[in-house]
Symmetry: C2
Subunit: 157 residues, 2 copies
DNA sequence: CTTGAACCTATAGTTGCTACAGGGTTTATG
DNA sequence: CATAAACCCTGTAGCAACTATAGGTTCAAG
């Protein structure tokens, strides 16, 4: 390994991983990235390892892994000798969650399509959308609110 | 009439709509449900109208409508004479978001399936999951996040 | 009248960032 | 060398949409 440490600032690091400096500082606070070396003036300086780690983190987050899951994945990838049984477990579990969310979203999409298709542009009193939302009978899924709705992290309207 | 109105407590109301009392109080704070009549001791009492309204809200939330969107839908359903053009607009917009979210989630599922399928249970150093998360080149789909988030990872140079 | 479940308010926590405010540092240029 | 622009710092507050806790009060049954 070359001792050649490019020593980039936090802005450059963030840019390379596709996030913002605030996000990097946030990851540092919660312990996903190590505390950086500082200049005399107190500014953070990073090397290539930090870039790779941050890219890993951003990818995992883009794949929908929670920060906690990323933390586990990271700690495992730091110990290359161990079996990747756990890695597989985490990813499989995550896959299951994604698949169940997909199913619900599909049902939701179908219902929305039906709603929108049936809105004839008349008066609200005969609007199917309002009707569907009001009427318990027309509910897509039975109310099993053991765990709350999974639709919560959506882009806001 | 006031004698006839079943006057239930907040717990019963919440149970009927499939949520928790805290959620109802939260909705009251943010103005989705009206302030309730109180007993002499200060406890909230509700009638059937509140039950219907809360069920409407919970359905809309289950459908993934944001609280802001629900607020609009509610204000429209309060005026049955108006055209449901706006209702349709909100629902259509929401449908588009759901569809775009579905697409991304499907791409994610495919990627996760491939990852999981390729984890042979060996050592972490040769684990495909870790590898995929580390290396952008191995990403098949360019998981392009629509307008939701701006500049994600550009080409690594 | 006593118990205990249900209720009250207020506040803080959750997740994963993002956006300031009000400074200090580094670097490029004149 | 001086200055200006670009960058960086900490700390705090905010976002959605609730959820949880603490510490106290009220209600309804027995």
């Amino acid at each position: 390994m070359s001792e050649h440490n490019a020593a980039i600032g936090i802005g450059e690091l963030a840019r390379r991983a596709g996030c913002k400096p605030e996000t990097v500082r946030y990851y540092e606070r919660v312990g996903l990235v190590d505390e950086a070396v500082r200049t005399e003036g107190g500014q953070r300086r990073y090397g290539e390892a930090a870039v790779r780690r941050l890219i890993f983190i951003r990818h995992a987050r883009d794949f929908g892994f929670s920060v906690e899951a990323v933390r586990e994945l990271l700690s495992m990838s730091d110990r290359p000798d161990m079996s990747c049984q756990e890695v597989d477990t985490i990813a499989t579990h995550h896959l299951e969650e994604v698949e169940s969310r997909l199913q619900r979203l599909e049902a939701l999409r179908d219902e929305l399509r039906r709603m929108v298709g049936q809105c004839a542009g008349g008066k609200v009193e005969s609007c199917r959308i309002i009707e569907v939302l009001s009427d318990h009978q027309l509910c897509i899924s039975e109310h099993d609110h053991g765990g709350a709705s999974d639709l919560k992290h959506g882009p806001h309207s």
